[in-house]
């Protein structure tokens, strides 16, 4: 296996007297989906905010593609190739799919928006994920279902040629069929050579799509296991703190 896309070592973060992350070591690999699970307050969100540059870590080493990096701003994270798909998706309902996918990164030709180029690239990005659920790439986002919106948000990271995509509760608000679609999408994203980290509370989703599972418990990484070598009972006991992995 190639080296990890992202490697965290000894990551610490505290808010005043509260130590939220107490020395995390974590690796995510290209082509693999890593689940980040843990109960509320385990530190999942803080870890993600650090990786996305929203709230930089206090201590520890972050290596991206083997190089040590400092991520201080969302822009810096994006420049490295880290994209975060937040739970609330952050889409403009009044704009169409293409416009949303290129928001803030518009293609320009002779001083004006190059709509044709953007439409073509957006269509290709959606096709690379085998998306077939949207009627038209010029549909307004307000007319899309929750799953379709998630699709647009994920496809946006493909467009930015992200090397690491972090998904925050991607299926939280979705029905059964749409959850299935989004999970398939996540699988294809990884199959395209992207490292994917999913934060999820839903273990059945995690077991369906993830290759590895990392469990946080009160600011510590208590386990990082291959999905094929564990089961949900074991993962739940890690989450609740009933069991810890050696090493």
């Amino acid at each position: 296996m190639e080296g990890p896309v992202i490697e965290l070592a000894g990551i610490k973060k505290s808010f005043g007297p509260v130590d939220v992350l107490k020395g995390i070591d974590l690796k995510a690999y290209a082509g693999r989906v890593l689940a980040l699970v843990g109960d509320n307050g385990a530190g999942k969100s803080t870890l993600i905010k650090g990786l996305s540059g929203v709230q930089p870590f206090d201590e520890g080493v972050v290596k991206f593609a083997g190089e040590e990096v400092n991520i201080h701003t969302p822009r810096g994270a994006s420049a490295l190739g880290i994209e975060v798909v937040y739970q609330d998706l952050a889409l403009c309902e009044n704009l169409d799919i293409v416009q949303n996918m290129f928001l803030g990164h518009e293609e320009i030709l002779t001083g004006t928006l190059h709509e044709a180029e953007m439409e073509l690239l957006a269509t290709k990005a959606l096709q690379s994920l085998s998306v077939r659920t949207v009627k038209s790439v010029r549909q307004k986002v307000s007319s899309l279902s929750g799953g379709q919106r998630q699709t647009v948000a994920i496809a946006r990271s493909v467009l930015r040629e992200a090397k690491l995509v972090i998904l925050d509760e991607p299926t939280a608000a979705l029905g059964v069929a749409q959850t299935e679609q989004v999970l398939n999408l996540v699988r294809r994203l990884a199959d395209n050579g992207v490292a994917v980290i999913i934060i999820s509370h839903n273990l059945s989703d995690v077991f369906k799509v993830c290759d590895d599972i990392a469990v946080l418990y009160l600011g510590r990484l208590v386990a990082q296991v291959k999905t094929s070598e564990t089961n949900s009972t074991e993962v739940i006991s890690y989450i609740t703190g009933a069991k810890t992995q050696e090493g």
Binding site: C92, N94, L103, A116, Q127, V131, R132
Partner: protein, 412 residues
Amino acid sequence: MSNEVVSLASGNEGTLKDQFSAYLSRLRAGEMGSLPAVVATIVLSLIFEIASPFFFTKLNFTNMFVQAAELTMLSAALVFVILLAEIDLAAGVTAGVAMAVWISLVKFAAMNWILALVIAFAVGLLIGWVIGFMVAKIGVPSFVVTLAFFLGFQGMQLVLLGEGGVYRVEVPEVLAIMNNNMPQWGGWALIAVSAVSMVLLSLWDRGRRARKGLVNKPISILIIKVSAVVVLGGIAVAIMNQNRSQGSIPIAGVPIVVPITVAILFIGTFVLDRTKFGRHLYAVGGNPEAARRAGIKVAKIRIYAFMICAFLAVVSGIFHSSRIGNVDGSAGHTIVLNGVAAAVVGGVSLFGGRGKLSHAAIGALVITMIDNGLGLLQMPAGISFLITGSVLLLAATIDALARNRGGVINRN
């Protein structure tokens, strides 16, 4: 990598008939744009034509365009801030103050009128910047900031011009805007330039799409749109080019204000639809948080929007001074509310993110028509206010319902 071939539509596929049914389904989904206002203009024209023999005379027809120009410009100004779900109640008085500065410089400092006008625009832009700064950087709601400016600038106008100060505009070029007409060929040239611009822009887009291998809409849609502009515009020009004088000196031709207004609306629409700034403006209006996360400098967009609003408001102020022939201390106090009403009636959403400059123009025409038609019927002014208010309420209700239908509020 999955190489399954999936083709995604762009909404341009299909025949004219398919496009039309797609349009109908967009209407049903609540994306009505200016359609209600267009229907309103037709209905109002019919009612007033039946009720008053003066309504569709050559004179009144032309007058309506001149009357509507001022409101159109102010309403277009407001569209830039309404698209951000903000409001600028001070747009009218901003124009008033800028014109007061202008007339003061011309009258008291004997300054060249063009230079004075440049300074007046600079004053307008400065006011827009200050309002934008207060809203975007400090976070005071635009309603409050602009209400404060609205009150304060009424005082500023009086300070600049003195209590009851009224100064005649004696610059022929400024007076000409609303009072003089283009020669006969000017109107035809306007139609020709508009039609050719439409065709060229559309062919440009089509060429770009074709080079990328993307589907274009049927060319018949372009032909229909251009034909509509040529026919409707042609009829209007033909009417305006006839002698409409009731005295012995003939008056004919398209008023000069018309091409100025058309040009400004065209440029504004170009900026909104085809530039990065325009796209970001709609994005901030639709979801500021999403815009921020996409790396858009939201505060900068807001400040620019207020500056553009103030700038176009000053243009509307020039139209006003040109029409009435003077600058006085009470200019711009009442028109701003009609400006907001025109935008909303025309189909611009007060919730932000939806609307076009052309909507402002159509809305302004509806409101001018109500005012003009009821005036011809010698209705008391009270009735005009009541009807305008009702139309506004209706338009705002349609906007809110369309928003629900579009799934923004009641989506689970």
